[in-house]
Subunit: 742 residues, 2 copies
């Protein structure tokens, strides 16, 4: 009876341990897991089971009789399982064929594990892809997206209807060439660039472990889901995967289960030519539990047993190496790179249909397969309803925690949160914006329950520690300071996963600004997938001094200003740093990069939190009628220089406006009137100063203006010396201004 119950139900059972738990998910292991013998279902028992939808009465009965049994087992006779798997294969084949573009090989090889995951293992609600407590699935090998689209289609997601499958990779479709969470509900994260997905999955699993530790109670495991990921050889080769998986092992993310599609083929051919390491051994070194499924093509029970084993290992993430045949079923192209990234071609599609005994028209889902999968709609609704009821109970008992959790689940922040941000006056002591940033982070952590993050081994330089919290670690996952180690790329992608786990989670991460180069691929995905990660990037110019050009960003401001959907903010002092944080927190679908100084900066008159929100604004002006002789623009640490130069020029009788140009993107979004009020078209005598590349500044200062900046690499010397030698000085501004306005 227990063995034939729905595995989804069984997982639901798992979430209700009969023994008290201390709240930390590690302690879920108090549930004993007896060994499991494989059971071949008779058609009768399968039919029987399909009738048993999770009404609360039947669930109680099951609970009473098998509370300690977890099942991962077939939900249908093998012939139907195989038919379902072939349905997945042919939906992928047909969609790629129709588009004449795409990657059929992976879906054909991974269809068995895909079927087992979505039909037998995972808990989700197809009609609400955003149900909080759902299991998360990530296809790190994103090029195989037809696998996931086929699965979402079978499971009943509205985002992937028949017509969506037929418009695969076409303009405006919900089935783009790689999985995109912002296009297709049911897709958790945006993958395709290899290695990102598995790192996102680490972030999703981190979020689960953190929230479970904070909110679960002995009588209510209100946060309780798994994170599954499929990654291929390509992901495995990428450094980011190793970074993230090293952290997953370190953190003991026991509910992260990764399927490594070990098919020995990548685009250039057999992996023998470039990838002969022992992945198993490496993952053992990384602290993972490793299982090898030798027959991933037809060894369904092997896959099931592996998942069961993985779930039983609570203190380590599990890598299930599943040896598959890429393009399984294609008589002439299977096991070759030719099936990786191109349509099979009509002839080979026919041959594959014959080979797999598939008599159907393209895009056909056989009735019995359809009927079998149809239970996921009511089951999913029941899962969510059950969780909602559980949450209602939780809310009654644990009011405060429920309010916090709700804020995280819904992304609604406490009213007036922004009042927690510190403000400064010109009399406040001079300080580095990295220190002022830490004041903001610590102020926000008190009012934003979803704020958590850390640094890539530079916490004491980036100034990112939240003082009231300890470290998020394997045994203290309820804490909020995350120690990423020197793993910038993994850090960025993990933060994407955290941000996309729940709308109210606000991950921040930090390193030196120059090392955004290490994590740029993850930051671009933040921007694309609308993950509002806050990038705290200190040591933002030659102002860091002696570490020299390897550590001094030059082109980085320009490089992010050119990137779509990301906010590049370079605050000049305390008020602007607070303003930058306000913007960053409000922008939940757009990441923010804060460039912060290592060196002390004065608190300037005229700066404000509200000014930052406009991107560019006047901090001082002695002109009237919107007609200054000169406009000086600065950002960050150079705004002080612009202000000093203005003082000097005003002494000489000029009318001078000083504009803080803290975020180009935000200024761009202002009304034409506002822009004209700050940068009147008639005033062409403009000088900008910024300790970075002048690339792009021509747009702001115009062809009659002058941009002072750094169009070479930096140098190793004390900061003041470099500023002087590079001409980033008030004198240089004054000289340029005099030339322009003479």
């Amino acid at each position: 009876m227990a063995a034939t119950s729905s595995p989804a139900l069984s997982q639901a059972l798992l979430s209700r341990p009969s023994l008290p738990s201390t709240g930390a998910p590690n302690n879920q292991s108090s549930l004993s897991l007896p060994s499991f013998s494989r059971i071949k279902l008779s058609p009768l028992s399968a039919a029987h089971r399909r009738r048993r939808l999770p009404s609360s009465a039947s669930r109680s009965a099951i609970r009473a009789s098998s509370a300690a049994v977890e099942t991962v087992g077939a939900t249908a006779e093998t012939s139907l399982v195989e038919k379902s798997i072939n349905t997945i294969r042919f939906l992928a084949i047909d969609a790629v064929e129709k588009a004449n573009s795409g990657h059929p090989g992976l879906p054909m090889g991974c269809a068995p594990m895909g079927h087992i995951l979505y039909d037998e293992v995972m808990r989700y609600n197809p009609k609400n892809p955003y149900w909080f407590n759902r299991d998360r699935f990530v296809l790190s090998a994103g090029h195989g997206c037809m696998l996931q689209y086929a699965l979402l289609h079978l499971a009943g997601y509205d985002s992937v209807k028949d017509e969506d499958l037929k418009s695969f990779r076409q303009w405006g479709s919900r089935t783009p060439g790689h999985p995109e969470n912002f296009e297709t509900p049911g897709i958790e994260v945006t993958t395709g660039p290899l290695g990102q997905g598995v790192a996102n999955a680490v972030g999703l699993a981190l979020a689960e472990k953190h929230l479970a530790a904070r909110f679960n109670k002995p009588d209510s495991e209100i946060v309780d889901h798994y994170t599954y990921v499929i990654l291929g050889d390509g992901c495995q080769m990428e450094g980011i995967a190793n970074e993230a998986c090293s952290l997953a092992g370190h953190w003991g993310l026991g509910k992260l289960i990764a399927f490594y599609d070990d098919n020995h083929i990548s685009i250039d051919g057999d992996t023998e030519i470039a990838f002969t390491e022992s992945v198993d051994t490496r993952f053992e070194g990384l602290g993972w539990h490793v299982i090898w499924v030798k027959n991933g093509n037809t060894g369904y029970d092997e896959i099931r047993a592996a998942i069961k084993e993985a779930k039983a290992v609570k203190d380590k993430p599990t890598l299930i190496k599943v040896t598959t045949t890429i393009g399984f079923g294609s008589p002439n192209k299977a096991n070759s790179y030719s099936v990786h990234g191109s349509a099979l071609g009509a002839k080979e599609v026919d041959a594959t249909r014959k080979n797999l005994g598939w008599p159907y028209e393209p895009f056909h889902v056989p009735e019995d397969v359809k009927s079998h999968w149809s239970r996921h709609i009511p089951t999913g609704a029941a899962f969510e309803a059950e969780w909602n009821a559980k949450f209602a109970e939780y809310e009654k008992k644990y009011k405060e925690e429920a309010a916090e959790l709700k804020s995280i689940v819904k992304g609604e922040f406490p009213a007036g949160w922004e009042k927690a941000l510190p403000t400064y006056t010109p009399e406040s002591p001079a300080d580095a914006t990295r220190n002022l940033s830490q004041q903001c982070l610590n102020a926000l952590a008190k009012v934003l329950p979803g704020l958590l993050g850390g640094s890539a081994d530079l916490a004491s330089s980036n100034m990112t520690l939240l003082k009231m919290f300890g470290d998020f670690q394997k045994n203290t996952p309820e804490e909020r300071n995350v120690r990423f180690g020197v793993r910038e790329h993994g850090m960025g992608a993990i933060c994407n996963g955290i941000a996309l786990h729940s709308p109210g989670l606000i991950p921040y991460c930090a390193t030196f600004f120059v090392f955004t180069d290490y994590m740029r691929a993850a930051m671009r995905i933040s921007a694309l997938c609308e993950a509002g990660v806050i990038y705290v990037m200190t040591h933002d110019s030659i102002g860091l001094g002696e570490d020299g050009p390897t550590h001094q960003p030059v082109e980085h401001l320009a490089s992010f200003r050119a990137m779509p959907n990301i906010l590049m903010l370079r605050p000049a002092d305390g008020n602007e740093t607070a303003g930058a944080y306000k913007v960053a927190v409000l922008n939940r679908k757009r990441p923010s990069v804060l460039a912060l100084s290592r060196q002390k900066l004065p608190q300037l008159p005229g700066t404000s939190i509200d000014g930052v929100a406009k991107g560019g604004y006047i901090i001082s002006d002695n002109s009237t009628g919107n007609k200054p002789d000169l406009i000086l623009l600065g950002t960050g640490s150079e705004l002080e220089i612009a202000a000093k130069a203005a003082d000097e020029l005003r002494k000489g009788g000029k009318t001078v406006r000083v504009v803080s140009f803290v975020s180009w993107e935000l200024f761009d979004e202002q009304s034409a009137e506002y822009k004209e009020s700050v940068l009147p078209a008639s005033v062409t005598a403009r000088v900008s100063i910024e300790a970075g590349s002048t690339f792009g500044w021509e747009k702001i200062v115009g062809s009659k203006g002058k941009a002072i900046g750094i169009d070479r690499f930096g140098a190793s010397a004390p900061a003041g010396k470099i500023y002087k030698e590079f001409g980033i000085t008030a004198e240089a501004v004054v000289a340029a201004a005099k030339e322009l306005s003479s």
Copy 2:
């Protein structure tokens, strides 16, 4: 006798096997290596040995008696070794103290392995840091650069004199805050950004293995050196290190010996907080030989034995995990993060002096230490002289090979090499620039002996295979197609290592242009360290179509135009692709990025190889007197669109100039007269079109012009559809032009 002979000499011996070799360095293992018992030198034998400089007579004697014996052993009594090690420690302490900036912890912990490497093991010539056959050393943990400066100083390099040590981290000094090959002869590569150095070292070792396989003869191992690298916990955490080390294992780089400074401390404190994986196990998985030196602080013989063992393993790279104490000798700060990145402070320096029994003034090198190290100047000169003599012999016997090798060693290319580049006429068939790029690469490979490279698992998409060569692999290292696997970051850094190995090596590497985001940190180092790597970046816009926004670069052109010392080239057709390669090959101290199309492009009238060298040039014009009504600018795949729009506008009676703006950097370098002849200041009606961010174009088109581009992420659909939907069309150019010139 053999055991007490100079190890440098012994290595020289090793390079002269008494058995014939087939030329592949693997076969060097035909030399039998008897096991080695440690020998404590008596002061007498040390003194005795110091007198035996490598005169050719004594060398012959040694060769005769001990040809098959390799020695790694002490060259002085232990007390003198310890004194030398403490000299290194205090030079580092004193320099950091004087600068009040820097990282004393690593040099204090790694001084023993540093001493053994530079004094006992490595072959180099201090008076010619560029001697071809020198052993290479890379300090991947570049922040510990005072270790290397101290070693170069003791060894007699002119680049690090006493005054250089005293101006550590100061403006204009040769001892910047991290090792910079372009500032300090004797430094091989530029490190500091973690993980880069070990990947550079893989490139250096690849170059050695490749050249040895190509040029060594049974009677002359003319290429024969080791590559040593020290990396720390920080490097180990970085994904790039795993990528590069996976390849090193795959390639069996037996002459790569890495010292992992296992000191359990990184900036955030004990590595326990973020780095608990088993590095040993991981490296075993990567196919390395792993040795653990448990006492790296005083276990000198353990270190020596490990190096000996590493050298005996010919078919695998070796990781020697050396457990050390960071800041060894500092009574109050050793083994803590506080000694990692700050000066010890006067009080702790005093305490350390007392603790280590160091009575000397700052920067003092005791006479006996000085005298001991002084032998490296004559020995080094002898090594080089010996190699030169050997090369003269080689040249007599193997004229052709010697000429090729010389070209690689000197960076002098065969006269007229550029004539090999293909040229095209408008009648030549339309083709994708990625295909035209392959024609260029294959043409150049015939005339440039140092051209080698490959792709990150996209060879058949990037079109980078050299058809006349096979794959560089463990057992075919003489070949020139390098298979990097999906490891962009490692690939870039490995190419930096190859480029810096010898001036005539021209590494190229390839991936999709968007994935420069994965390798940007390595590309920036190429630019900074003057490594003329050629980056072959295909699929350079939305023109790649269905793969969608994760694969479509947008901001990438702008992001490289903003980077110092790198050439961003976007050729439009065959002639321009050939022109781009000519520029790239000529720029040996500046990397080039070639953005190439996936889609077919016509061969345009007016394009030329010479035009490309100017960065921007006129491809068609129906105006006179340098006064066209309109100037249309395009790059790459959009130059065709500009040309089409010009045709249309000319039909309407306008005089229109079309400018190919293939490289902004090259155009910037032209004379003011030339620039005015292409873009006359008086003509403000300018329209640019480029399928990428418009960021930066204002500088070219001016505030009265119009830049057509893409300031959002791309989309998944057939390329033609996206171009149309995004308005990257001739119609859009015509419309903009009409508006400007009406």
